[in-house]
Structures are given as structure tokens and as C-alpha cells.
């Protein structure tokens, strides 16, 4: 469990950053306390020195004239300060002559005592003591507070040996020592206080920094990484429709987006593979069934037709045999249609009136029990021109759409509106690129990446040292391009053929809207397609189409007042084997429709609102391009 926790990236990051914080703050606190201590002691030392000097100077006269009482008074007065431990003067023999603690007077100080040690450590006593060495810190008992002592040697002066008393001889250099001891209890307390304060601050800082780090590491790393891990597990277990939610613009957000694109591509590829696999096995199955079934049927059919011919004089037997022959012939047709289904048929086009075809489809559908209680409204444009279509396939399309509409309405009552009209649309926003060639004649169409259900144009692109693919929207003027790598809005990119790398940029043709470079590719047989290379610039130009002017389309709409299609299904309904009808459907209906319309160079669109209804719009070009 612990090792598992420690293996987690977020935990490791938090631990490492916390340890770093602790070390930095710890080191800082250590040096800070040291400096503060040194400064405080310096201050006390200076103070003590000053005091010692003051005492020495103020007692000088008293000593000179040997007024002991006066010296006593001064020393006692100074010694009343609570910070001062003791002020004493001892002579060369170590006898304490004056002390703020009267009980100590007359005691002899050991030469090895801490106040004498500085001068008497060496065999011969020093005669001059440098200022810095005059102070010392000691404890009276190991558990008492620290004491700072300052010794000031009282040197022999001419006035000392020239005086009438002749108390001191001229040869003596040091007459005695003034020793001021200063209690450090207060200072030590202050140091301890500031140590505690610093420790508390350091602890608080460590906790605060750790919490902040935990918060942001969780938010920026742990949560997104967990989401990514969960997503990869989902995808790994086969759920290719799983998508990671928006994660922002950072690297992980980009990773999530690429991941989503990747799984989408993967699921499309898998679907296609699945579809072709299914069709292939269906074909094999049909072939197997046909072969296996046709052999026994041959036996039945030849024998029965043989017998039928010989049963001329027995009418009863003859009619029985006729049933066998007829039904076997019917079985033969069923097997044949199974084989036909396995092979997708090519459209057999001829000019036809879509109104008539729609009418025929309605006639077929009206008899179905599913259409009881449903009113079919015809909104036909009577002057609709003929279009070149495969009438049977078109009837199949309309029949399927009508049955779907009836299914969407279900048991309730409702209406289905089927309308036809002639519409004229400029090529911009409608015309579709079906073939795109680079200067070296490589086909750049990408059947696998579809934009709004149509194969896109894949180009290689470079921006700012980054390289990736862009899938261009095949519909002229729509610009729902998919950038395979991050390009900020408004940046101009390099565009090249994904197969040979030949550039598609035309340096001499500038975008008339923003002045950036443009790129172009050949769209056989309809000339060149040009567009601005700057992301989000909307300029596109397809000269050959614009020259032709507006395109005429025959538009067929089938609307129902049924249940509608949920948003998340809208993108999938034309995929093979997508079905919400369960056992009732094969999921092939709309896929077949899409295939038929696509084979007619047409488009089919769906608009739907849950609870309100669905509208399918088919557009077939009047002039075949």
C-alpha cells in the first residue's frame, strides 16, 4: 500500500518539493538564529565594556585618594542593576577588595579561575590584555544562566606611585583587576524566544508551501494524469467512444486533445475495418450458403421439372409438381438476391422525375401497418426538372426514410412531410472537393478522416518549427479544418503534400483579405482551389466553379414529427451497423442511403430536435460535374 502510494507521481512530487522547502527554510533559520545571537551578544559585550570602563573611570579618583567608602558606594550602586551579576575589584594577589556582593569581599580568587585565566594561563602574567580578550562567558553552576564577564586590568599610573601614601611601587604594572559580570539570562531568553519564533515560522512556512504545492500538483498534475490514465484504461478495454473532458491549454490539455483525436481516429478506423470485415464475412457467408444451397436445389429442380414433363396425363400430380417447381424456382431467386446483396450494385442512372419516384415510395409505404395514424403531406414542386438517377435506388432511399420517419413517430399520431424543390445555391459553402492533387499529382484525399461525414483533404503543415497534419474541410467555403497540432489563431502556416512534401504555397498569390501567402491544389476536373494559409482567415477561391455561377440542385426533404435523434447519435447515424432499433434493424439502412446519395454526387444532411422531429435533406446536383 505504502509502496503503491510512493509510486504515484503526485505523491513523489509533493514529497520532493516538501523536502526541498524544509531544507531551504531550515538552513535559512539556522543561519538567521546564529546571526541574531552573535549580534545580541555583541551588543551586550559592548554594553558591558562600556559599563566596565565607566565603573573604572568613576572609581579612579576614589582609589587614588584611597576613599574606600566612596568606591564601595559606586560599586554597590552600579551592582543594584538587575542585569549586573557582580562588580568586583581584586588586587594583584587575587584578594577581592571591593564587590557589589559584600559577602565576597576578602575572598581570594584562584589564579585558575575564569576571570584570571586570560592573563595567568601562561607562566608569566601578561602585562597588557587586548580589548577583545577581556570578555568571557561562563556559568557559575552548569544549570544556572550564562554570565558574561568583562575584566579591566587597573594599570599602574604615575599618580599611583607618586602619591604620598606610597601604597604602590613603581615597578608594578597591574595593580588589580576590575571585573564586571553581566547576567545573560535576559539575552538568552530573547535568543530562545526568537529561536522558537523562527521555528514556528519555518514550520508554518513548510506546511503552507506543502499545502499550496499539494493543491496545485493535484489540480495541474494528479487530476489530469488520473483522467488520462482512466481514459487510456477505458480505451485499452475497448471503449473507443470514451472522451476526456476539456483540460485547459497546458501540455496535458493538449495531450488530452490529441488523445481524443487519436481515439476518434482509432474508432473510425476500427469501424471501417469492422464494416469491411463484416461485409467480407457476409459475402463469404452468402457465397457459402448459395453454393451449398444451390446444389441440393439443383437436385430438386431438375427432378421435379423432369417429373412434371412426364406427368402429362395425371392433372393432380401435375399441379403438385408445379408447386414444387415454382417454389424451388422461388428459392433460386432468394439465393440469387442474397448473392446480389453481398455485392453492392452500381447505380444504373437515367433521367427521372423525383416526384414520381417519391410517389411510388409513398405507395409502397402507405400499406404498412406502421403508418396507421400517420398523415403523409406531399409538398411537391410540380415543375421539378428531371435528374439523372437510379430510380430503383432512389425509391429505396425514399422508402427507407419514410419507414424511419414512421418508426420515429411510433404509435402516436403525427405527420410526415415529403417535399421536393429546385434550389439554386452558389458553389460557396456547398460544392465539395472530391479529389485534390499536389503539383506532383499525388492524391491528398483522406477517406479515413471525415469532416461532417465527407472525406477530408490531408496536407502536411509547419508552423514555428512544429510539424503536423491539417485535415481540410472538403466543402468549399466551410473551413471546418482540423489542425493536428497546435497553431494559434491568425498564424500563417506552411502547407505541403503529405506524400512527397512538395509545397502548396503560392508565393506570388497573396490573400486579398489579409495579404498572407496562399496555398493551392488541383481539383480535377474543376481547376485550382486556393485558400489563405493564415489560420482563421476565411478567404477561399475556386475559380472554375465561380465562373460557372450558381449550381442548381434538386432538393428532397423528408420531415417527421417523431421522437427526434439525440445530439450524440447525429454524427453516427450514417455509419454502417449503427442502430437504435435493436433487433428490429440491421443498422444498414441509412448507411446504404448515404452510399447511394454519395454515388449520385449528392449530399444528405440531417437536422433533428429531440421531441420535435427530424428532417433529412437530400440534394442532388442537376448538372453532373
Amino acid at each position: 500500500m505504502n509502496s503503491k502510494l510512493f509510486r504515484k507521481l503526485g505523491f513523489r512530487l509533493i514529497v520532493v518539493v516538501s523536502i526541498t522547502t524544509i531544507v531551504i527554510i531550515g538552513v535559512y533559520s539556522y543561519f538567521s538564529i546564529r546571526t541574531q545571537r552573535a549580534m545580541l551578544l555583541d551588543e551586550v559585550e559592548r554594553h558591558a565594556n562600556q559599563l566596565s570602563e565607566t565603573v573604572r573611570k568613576s572609581t579612579r579618583y576614589g582609589m587614588l585618594v584611597n576613599q574606600r567608602e566612596q568606591v564601595h558606594k559606586i560599586i554597590n550602586d552600579v551592582g543594584t542593576d538587575p542585569a549586573i551579576h557582580e562588580v568586583r575589584v581584586f588586587n594583584k594577589e587575587g584578594v577581592i577588595i571591593y564587590s557589589s556582593r559584600r559577602e565576597n569581599m576578602g575572598h581570594v580568587v584562584d589564579k585558575n579561575a575564569e576571570s584570571c585565566y586570560k592573563c595567568h594561563a601562561a607562566d608569566r602574567p601578561l602585562e597588557r590584555l587586548p580589548d577583545v580578550e577581556r570578555t568571557r562567558i561562563f556559568r557559575v553552576h552548569p544549570d544556572s544562566s550564562r554570565i558574561l564577564g568583562v575584566i579591566a586590568p587597573i594599570y599602574n599610573e604615575p599618580s599611583c606611585w607618586q602619591g604620598d601614601c606610597h601604597a604602590h611601587s613603581r615597578q608594578q604594572s597591574v595593580l588589580g583587576v576590575l571585573d564586571v559580570t553581566y547576567s545573560l539570562a535576559d539575552v538568552d531568553h530573547k535568543i530562545a524566544m526568537s529561536q522558537v519564533e523562527l521555528a514556528v515560522f519555518a514550520l508554518a512556512a513548510i506546511v503552507a508551501v506543502s499545502l499550496i504545492i499539494i493543491f496545485f500538483v493535484r489540480r495541474w498534475v494528479v487530476v489530469p494524469v488520473d483522467a488520462l490514465v482512466a481514459a487510456t484504461q477505458q480505451v485499452g478495454s475497448g471503449n473507443l467512444s470514451y472522451r476526456i473532458g476539456e483540460m485547459g491549454d497546458n501540455e496535458l490539455g493538449m495531450l488530452a486533445r490529441s488523445f481524443n483525436t487519436m481515439t476518434q481516429k482509432l474508432s473510425e478506423a476500427r469501424l471501417q475495418l469492422f464494416q469491411s470485415d463484416k461485409m467480407a464475412s457476409l459475402g463469404r457467408l452468402a457465397a457459402g450458403v448459395a453454393h451449398e444451397l444451390n446444389n441440393p436445389l439443383t437436385g430438386v429442380l431438375t427432378y421435379s421439372s423432369f417429373l412434371l414433363k412426364r406427368a402429362n396425363n395425371d392433372p393432380a400430380l401435375r399441379s403438385d409438381l408445379e408447386v414444387i417447381v415454382r417454389e424451388t424456382t422461388r428459392s433460386r431467386e432468394i439465393v440469387k438476391s442474397l448473392l446480389d446483396f453481398a455485392r453492392q450494385s452500381v447505380p444504373k442512372k437515367s433521367p427521372a422525375n423525383l416526384n414520381q419516384i417519391a410517389e411510388r415510395a409513398i405507395a409502397v409505404v402507405e400499406k404498412l401497418p406502421a403508418l396507421r395514424g400517420i398523415r403523409i403531406i406531399r409538398q411537391f414542386d410540380e415543375s421539378l426538372p428531371e435528374v439523372t438517377v437510379d430510380a430503383n435506388q432512389m425509391q429505396q432511399v425514399f422508402t427507407n426514410l419514410l419507414v424511419n420517419a414512421a418508426d420515429a413517430i411510433g404509435d402516436k399520431s403525427g405527420t410526415i412531410t415529403i417535399g421536393t424543390k429546385l434550389s439554386t445555391l452558389p458553389p460557396y459553402g456547398v460544392a465539395r472537393i472530391r479529389k485534390a492533387l499536389c503539383p506532383k499529382r499525388h492524391d491528398m484525399m483522406d477517406e479515413e478522416c471525415k469532416i461532417d461525414g465527407l472525406p477530408s483533404i490531408r496536407v502536411k503543415s509547419r508552423w514555428n518549427g512544429n510539424e503536423g497534419f491539417i485535415h481540410l474541410d472538403p466543402v468549399y467555403g466551410k473551413r471546418r479544418h482540423e489542425y493536428g497540432y497546435p497553431v494559434p489563431a491568425g498564424k500563417e502556416v506552411e502547407v505541403a503534400c503529405p506524400h512527397c512534401g512538395a509545397t502548396l504555397i503560392e508565393r506570388d498569390v497573396k490573400c486579398p483579405q489579409c495579404g498572407a501567402s496562399s496555398f493551392a491544389f488541383e481539383v480535377p476536373p474543376a481547376g485550382k482551389f486556393r485558400a489563405c494559409a493564415r489560420k482563421d482567415c476565411e478567404w477561399q477561391r475556386w475559380d472554375a466553379l465561380e465562373a460557372d455561377g450558381k449550381q442548381e440542385y434538386v432538393e428532397v426533404t423528408v420531415s417527421d414529427t417523431g421522437a427526434g435523434i439525440p445530439e450524440e447519435h447525429l454524427g453516427k447515424i450514417f455509419e454502417p451497423f449503427f442502430s437504435t432499433k435493436g433487433q428490429k434493424g440491421t443498422g444498414l439502412g441509412l448507411a446504404v442511403i448515404w452510399g447511394i446519395i454519395d454515388n449520385h454526387n449528392g449530399t444528405i444532411r440531417v437536422q433533428s430536435e429531440v421531441g420535435k422531429g427530424t428532417t433529412f435533406t437530400i440534394r442532388l446536383p442537376l448538372q453532373q460535374r
Binding site: N294, S305, F306, T328
Partner: protein
């Protein structure tokens, strides 16, 4: 000891062999059977046959490979291909590979007899040495069955091959499809009834939409045999996928063995 039979049937399905033996036997056609390709080749070498009816899908050897071997081994024995997996591709490939007929399973007694009859007539013609398979220049032929000729307008004429008509005997009636229907390569586009009341299917050489039907055939079916490459045409069509379909056809009556 070499024996003489009218028909050799090669099929891995016993019921098919039985049915052919029974039906053809009743019509006075002597039948020998082979349950697989190797037995078939062996028998074809050992005995003399006037016609072979051969299944395409057999476990040991692909029917088209077998067809190629048979045609090399005994070029004078015509072959009719049959299969339970009846597709346009199989039909077209059989005919363009040198088979004189294609009989999809399951077949009726009449269909079998008319095909066998035509095959036997073909064999007789080969043996008599008066086989003239060549069709005129610029005509595209689907085996020995039918032809197509491109016109300058882009349309194409479709007709029945001379040899096919000769093997039928005297034509009594020509049954054409209705003008609304489409013609698909390798499928039946017309039925020709002979004086013996046998129906013979003409398989279309190319696919297309019918522009015109030769109405003269209704009143004068004989013109079909008198001028098969001229006045005896069947349909005028708009070809659908001529480039692809032409590859399956032989030019000027030369039947190339594609195997």
C-alpha cells in the same frame, strides 16, 4: 479401352451427377460422371466425350484451371461451366476463358437439356470441321455467345454470335426484354426458342441502358440467323462501363484463352 460418351459431368455433388444422368439419360444422351477434377481429367484422357459439363467450385482444383487444362488436353471437346455460386464474374470469365456455355445452378430440366443440346451440336460442328468462330472485325465477342459493336455515336449494338445461333438449330422465336430494363453483362438479355421448343439464353456482352430494340425480329425471327452481324442485331444500348467490360471480350472473333 477407350469408350465413347456424349457427356462427361464433373461435379463434387452426387445429387447433381445423379440428376444429370437421370435427365440426360431420359433424353438419350449417354453420360459419364467424375466426382472431382482429377478424375475428370483422367476420364477425359481415357475416353472420348462430345461435351463436358464442369462445376467451377470444387475442392481439389479451381474450375478455371481445370477448364484451361481440359482445353489444352482435348481442344476438340467443348466445355460448359456450371456453378452454385453464380455470379456475373463467373459467367463472363467462363465464356471468355473458352467455355461454350454457362449454366447457373440450380437449373431446370429444360435449361439443362437446351444447353446440352447446344453443346452436342457444337461438338458435331467441330468434328465436321465447319466451325467458323470468327466474327467480323471491330466486333467484340463474349465467348461464342454474343457480340457488341461500338457505333460512332457512342451507342453500341448487341447481337447473338453466329456460332451460337447455328448450334441452336432453326430459330422459331426471339424473346427480348422490355425497353425499360437494363442489360447487365453476363446475364440473360434475350431468349431464343428453337423449333424443338428449347429456350436458349443469350448472355449480354456488355452492360447498358436500352436505346432501341430490333422490332424486325418479332415479325421475322429468321433474320437473326441470316444476318447475325448485321440486320439480326438485338438491341442498341448506351454502354455503361465499356472500358472495363471490353477487357473481358475478344476482338474480331479471336477467342483468347485467358488462363
Amino acid at each position: 479401352m477407350s469408350k465413347q460418351y456424349d457427356l462427361l459431368v464433373i461435379d463434387d455433388e452426387p445429387v447433381v451427377l445423379d440428376a444429370v444422368v437421370r435427365v440426360c439419360g431420359a433424353h438419350g444422351v449417354s453420360v459419364d460422371v467424375a466426382p472431382d477434377s482429377h478424375a475428370g481429367l483422367h476420364r477425359l484422357q481415357a475416353n472420348r466425350y462430345r461435351l463436358v459439363l464442369c462445376d467451377i467450385m470444387m475442392p481439389d482444383l479451381d474450375g478455371f484451371q481445370l477448364l484451361g487444362r481440359m482445353l489444352t488436353q482435348s481442344p476438340d471437346t467443348p466445355v460448359v461451366m456450371t456453378t452454385g455460386y453464380s455470379t456475373i464474374e463467373h459467367a463472363v470469365r467462363s465464356l471468355s476463358s473458352g467455355a461454350i456455355g454457362y449454366l447457373p445452378k440450380p437449373f431446370t430440366e429444360e435449361e439443362l437439356i437446351s444447353t446440352v443440346q447446344r453443346g452436342l451440336n457444337f461438338s458435331t460442328m467441330i468434328r465436321a470441321g465447319n466451325l467458323d468462330a470468327a466474327c467480323p472485325d471491330h466486333y467484340y465477342a463474349l465467348g461464342f455467345i454474343s457480340w457488341a459493336k461500338l457505333e460512332e455515336t457512342g451507342a453500341a449494338l448487341i447481337g447473338a454470335a453466329d456460332l451460337f445461333l447455328k448450334t441452336i438449330g432453326t430459330v422459331k422465336e426471339v424473346r427480348l426484354v422490355s425497353p425499360q430494363e437494363e442489360i447487365v453483362q453476363g446475364t440473360t438479355c434475350a431468349r431464343i426458342a428453337s423449333m424443338t421448343d428449347l429456350l436458349h439464353d443469350v448472355l449480354a456482352p456488355i452492360s447498358g441502358k436500352i436505346l432501341e430494340i430490333n422490332t424486325r425480329l418479332k415479325s421475322d425471327a429468321g433474320i437473326l440467323q441470316r444476318d447475325p452481324y448485321g440486320q439480326g442485331w438485338l438491341y442498341r444500348v448506351v454502354p455503361e462501363d465499356i472500358e472495363y467490360e471490353m477487357k473481358q471480350l475478344s476482338v474480331g472473333g479471336l477467342v483468347e484463352n485467358k488462363e
